[in-house]
Every structure is written in structure tokens, then in C-alpha cells.
Symmetry: C2
Subunit: 333 residues, 2 copies
DNA sequence: TATAGCTAAGAAACCGGTTTTGGTAAGTTG
DNA sequence: CAACTTACCAAAACCGGTTTCTTAGCTATA
């Protein structure tokens, strides 16, 4: 493969001139520039980025740690990150970790070993997690929950849940089931707080029987739906902590002969693309995924640039999307 | 940041010995090895991968070009690619191109400029496409359609479509609508071939009125559903070229007061995660995404290794997933 | 004892760029 | 006209590893 020296020889100039022709063309005379460009074409030269990056001690790559990239919420975030990244000359090394800490460590090593310059963590932070911010590696967290101990951009899940719960309550619902995520999941915790807060605000007593613990998957939502459908004192509405579980629950309700939303209202969380096409279309919360991704990348660029970030937590607002899956509670027959 | 020379100095050995201690420890005496390891701990040394890769002229990264990574089919493929890649020490640079050739060129440049060693193209090849295989860059295509002019691993979409159509026909359907993808999309072309072949085999005359051109999105499927629902001589079954459009169509049928599958049967293509949770659950084709991704990466490794690949096209088999969205045609009232 | 053969390890070359240094030719100023 | 810029460019140092070449020291064999 041709290198800068071959070009220099062909053009009859020094390698320094060839280098400058690429990085600081205005520092090179028209005459030399032309000679260089002709030589470049002649030998089919392409600068070797590895050499360039090595010399400049920048990999121009960042790693994005994502728990699960079959999750369409994350793909929205990644897309936004990517957009800002390429605009600034950075590539993205995608690390899907699937809650495997070994794998995650592997990826963090990439930035320690200079294959990447920084890191965006999409997995919500848990108190027992020690890996990050390991030391002085540039990192920002996005889409997390409350309590992230380093620069983060996120939504307030508690507030969003409060909003959707208030909506259910305003429709006259008082017995409201909750299909939760895993108990220790930070998002579950935050959303659960909103659930309980809304009940308390409305003077409705919290009933642990009305909480079903799922794991954010459709099958677990289906199980939750069955649980509520078979209850003797069935709730009139169900607050599901994400759209997938809501879809599973709707299926279970229908199998049990219940109509949605006539017999039971339901809400989701995330506004996945298919939320418009479920039957009924889901009333849900839309996270500002694009803004979070964009902001996170901008912050990371700033940090990698050595600039101090004066604020450690950026909280963006949710959107409340009203569709068809909630109806006012009916008068008891 | 500490480098190999600092370690050598601290350990009182040469840099060559330190290097060997990492890459060929068996070539180093126990004594030196211990001195080196102690020094490594003392100065907190981590080998600089950029330098290593630069010297060895391998980036240990590949780029995966994916048209749309919010498409859950692609995420299955990418995941499989990633698994094989990391097992072999490679990282993945994800390039979402969204049919933007400029962007795609940008990513191909990454391997020309040695930021990556090879490339997997997930976008189906079209005859007018000139970018690949540009020259001698290691590349393989996965998930494409027929007619890919370089090493590829794919499914036979025509055969899969034929299978699902034969199933519909075996259930007594003769008026079968088709919600197609964009006319020039290679997958559309292959799947359409299967559609027509099945009709011909069964002696059913092809009726262009029964073909609705969508674009693989839920809204276009919805439009297709409306189109067929309003037809005077409505088809009894609809062959949708993917699951998303099937979901849209089901929604439209229901809005038109039709029952699925009692009034109209429907089939999908791709077996997305939610295909089990639609109402009714979709009868569909499952592509061997994982195998395709795995095979593609293995082939790429082989090619990057300089080994010849003796076969240029690998065709894997589809799975036919029967669920609830098809019923035998009813006797006319 | 001489010599070949082997192992361990240091010195130095090397990968392909960027950047610093220094020198020359031309133009500018007092 | 001497002194001083300025523009351009070549030579060489440099980034942090790997690899080649060489030598020193040891063992085995005749």
C-alpha cells in the first residue's frame, strides 16, 4: 500500500509537504499543492488513519454501552448520539452488554487502552456498581435514573409516572393496578415512586395486591394481565411500566374476555413505534430519547476536550401521549 | 500516561522484554517476568492499543453497514455478528446509512483508510450500486437478495414466499392480496416472484388489482389494509411482505369492521418479537438472522485472513412459523 | 577443551503519519 | 543597501509499540 513517502518521492517534495497538503493546505504553495495532488492520484494514496490517530493520540471513537439494542428506545438514543458523533468526526463502537459485567469491563478497557476516547453509558446506574467512573476516563451517563454519580442526562421518571397516574385518576379510576419492572431496577424504583405519590396525593390507599412484578418483557406483561384479569376485585385501570408489558397485558385481557379500554384501561411507557398500532393505541409516555442522546454526546465531546462541565445532572422533560387505551371509569352496574 | 519505556526503566529491563512479557510471556524468564509485572503495577501501565494496532497494521475493527437499526430483524443479525467478532478480538463500528449513499461512502472510507479491516453490508444489493466491492477491500454481504455480486450469505426470499403462499392456497384461498414493499427493493422483487409463482403453480390468474405497493412501514401497511377492506371483491387472505405492514393492515381491517382471521387471513414476514403478541398472533416467516450474521462474520474473518473463499453464495433456510392469523376460507354464504 | 546449539535479553530499526527546527530565497523596510 | 520579515519547504525527531538482529551465557556433544 502506498504511503506518504511514496507520494513525496513521486511529487518531488518532502513528506512534510505532503502532510501539510492534507492538514494545512493553505500553508502550501499552489505549485507544490498541485504536484502533491497529482502524485496522490497517480499512486492512489489514502492517508492511514491509524497512523494519524496514533500520532495525535486520539482514536476518534467512543464506545456506547447499551444493555440491549433490540430495545427500540435505545435505538432512538443511539441514533441521536451517532448523528452528533459523526458530525464531529467520531465513530461509535457499539457495546451491547446484556447486563454482563464482564463484557462491560471489556468495553471500558477499550477506552483505557486508547482504542476509544470516551464512553456513554446507557445502562441505569445501580448503587452496587463500581466500574464507573473508574478513574479519569471521559464518561457520561444517559437515560439513567436518579442517583447517577457522574455527569448524566436523563428524564425524571417519577414525575412522568406521576403525570400518567394523575391522568388515570382524573378519569375516575381509583383501583389502579401496576405492572412493575424488576424491583431493583432503578427505573422501576423511580416510576414506582410516581405511582405511590399519585395515590397518596389523591388519598387512595396503596394496596400491595395491586402490584405485579414483571421484567419489562411482553411475556411478563402477559402474566401481569392474567393476574389482574383473574382478580376478584379487578382494577379498572392498569399502569404498566413500559409498552411491551402493556402489549402483553392487553393480549391477556382479551384472552380473558375483557375489552380494552371499556372494561379495563391501560397505559404504557416509552412510546415504541408500534404503540400507535396496538389495539387500542397506547396512551403512554414518550421519553426525549433524541435530545438525551444528543445532549449526552455534546457533553462527552466537551469533557473529552478537557473542558469542565459545570453541571452534573441534566433533566429533560417527558411527553405525555394520549391515545385510546384509557376510558373514564364506568359507573358500577 | 505511562508507556512501555517507563515500565522498562522501572523494571530495569529493555522495552523489548516488556513487550515480550505481554505478547510472548513464554519467551521471558520467570525472573524478568516478575520484574516487569511488578513495574507494570507500580506505574499503572496499560498497553496502548492504537500503537499496537498501528504497528501490526490491523485495526481489529470491522464496519457493519445497516440501513436501519431500529429494525429488529437487523438487530438480531448484528448481535450475532458482534458475538463472533468479539470472540475473535474484533470490534464493531456500526454504520447506520438510512439509504444515504454519501454516508455509506463515508463508512467504506473507514476501511480504505485503515480504521477498520473489513466490512459487512446488510443492505440488499441493487444493480445500480457501484460502491462495492470497490476494490480489494474485504467485504461480505448478508441478508441480501438474489444477484449480489460478491460473497454473500442470505435466505431465498422467493422460496420462502412460495411456501407461505402455498400454505394460504392449501387453506382454500384463491383471492390473495399482496402488500408489497417498494417495487425496486430487491427483497420485494424476490418475494413477489414467490407470490406469482405460487399463483401460477395453483393455476390462479394473477390480478394486478390485488397488489398494493407499500414501503415496509406500519403506516403503509395500514393504507394497504384500507385498500383491500374497501374493495368490492375483497380478497380472503393477504400476503404482507413484512410483519410491520401486517400489523398496520390488521389495524385497518379491524377499523373497517372486519375480523381477522375469520373475515380475512393475513401473513407476515420476519417474525418480529411482537408477532406473537399481535391479535391474532402472526403466521409468518422467520429468517435465520443469527446464522446469517454468524456465517457472514466467519466468512469475513476468513477473507481478512487472506484465505480464499471457495463459494460465493451461501443460502440458508427459512423457518415457517404458523400462528393464528390464517384460517381456511369460508364457504360463500 | 573446542565447537555447535540454544535461550534470554538488549539495541536499534521500523510502522506512517505529524510537528518542530532550521535554512533559503524572495520581498519589505528604514 | 543592510537588516528584517515572510513564505516555503526539507530534514529529522517523535508517537509507543513490535520485531529483527546481535550478543552473552549456558549446555551438550565429540
Amino acid at each position: 500500500m502506498s504511503n506518504i513517502r511514496a507520494v513525496a518521492k513521486k511529487a518531488g517534495v518532502s513528506i512534510a509537504t505532503v502532510s501539510r497538503a492534507f492538514t494545512n493546505p493553505e500553508k502550501v504553495s499552489k505549485n507544490s499543492l498541485k504536484k502533491v495532488m497529482d502524485a496522490v492520484d497517480a499512486v492512489g494514496y489514502r492517508p492511514n488513519m491509524m497512523a494519524r490517530n496514533f500520532r495525535s493520540a486520539k482514536a476518534y471513537a467512543i464506545v456506547v454501552l447499551v444493555p440491549d439494542f433490540a430495545n427500540l428506545f435505545f435505538t432512538r438514543v443511539i441514533r441521536a448520539i451517532q448523528e452528533v458523533a459523526v458530525k464531529n468526526g467520531y465513530n461509535i463502537l457499539l457495546g451491547e452488554t446484556r447486563d454482563n459485567e464482564k463484557l462491560e469491563e471489556e468495553y471500558i478497557r477499550l477506552v483505557e487502552s486508547r482504542q476509544a476516547d470516551g464512553l456513554i453509558q446507557l445502562r441505569p446506574h445501580t448503587p452496587d456498581y463500581k466500574l464507573l467512573p473508574n478513574q479519569h476516563i471521559p464518561a457520561v451517563a444517559a437515560c439513567g435514573a436518579s442517583g447517577t454519580p457522574y455527569t448524566s442526562v436523563r428524564m425524571d421518571h417519577s414525575v412522568a409516572s406521576l403525570a400518567i397516574m394523575n391522568y388515570l385518576i382524573s378519569m375516575g379510576h381509583t383501583r389502579i393496578g401496576c405492572i412493575a419492572g424488576l424491583e431493583k431496577n432503578p427505573h422501576s424504583i423511580d416510576r414506582f415512586e410516581g405511582y405511590k405519590q399519585a395515590l397518596a396525593d389523591a388519598g387512595i390507599e396503596f394496596d400491595p395486591e395491586l402490584v405485579f412484578e414483571g421484567d419489562f418483557t411482553m411475556p411478563s406483561g402477559h402474566a401481569g394481565g392474567e393476574y389482574f384479569a383473574n382478580m376478584s376485585d379487578r382494577p379498572t385501570a392498569v399502569f404498566s411500566m413500559n409498552d411491551e408489558m402493556a402489549v402483553g397485558a392487553i393480549k391477556a385481557f382479551r384472552e380473558a374476555g375483557l375489552r380494552v379500554p371499556e372494561d379495563v384501561s391501560i397505559t404504557g411507557f416509552d412510546d415504541l413505534p408500534f404503540a400507535t398500532y396496538t389495539d387500542p393505541a397506547l396512551t403512554t409516555i414518550r421519553q426525549p430519547a433524541e435530545e438525551m442522546g444528543k445532549k449526552a454526546m455534546q457533553l462527552l465531546l466537551q469533557i473529552m476536550d478537557g473542558k469542565e462541565v459545570n453541571q452534573s445532572e441534566f433533566i429533560l422533560k417527558h411527553d405525555f401521549v394520549v391515545r385510546e387505551s384509557v376510558k373514564p371509569v364506568r359507573a358500577k352496574a
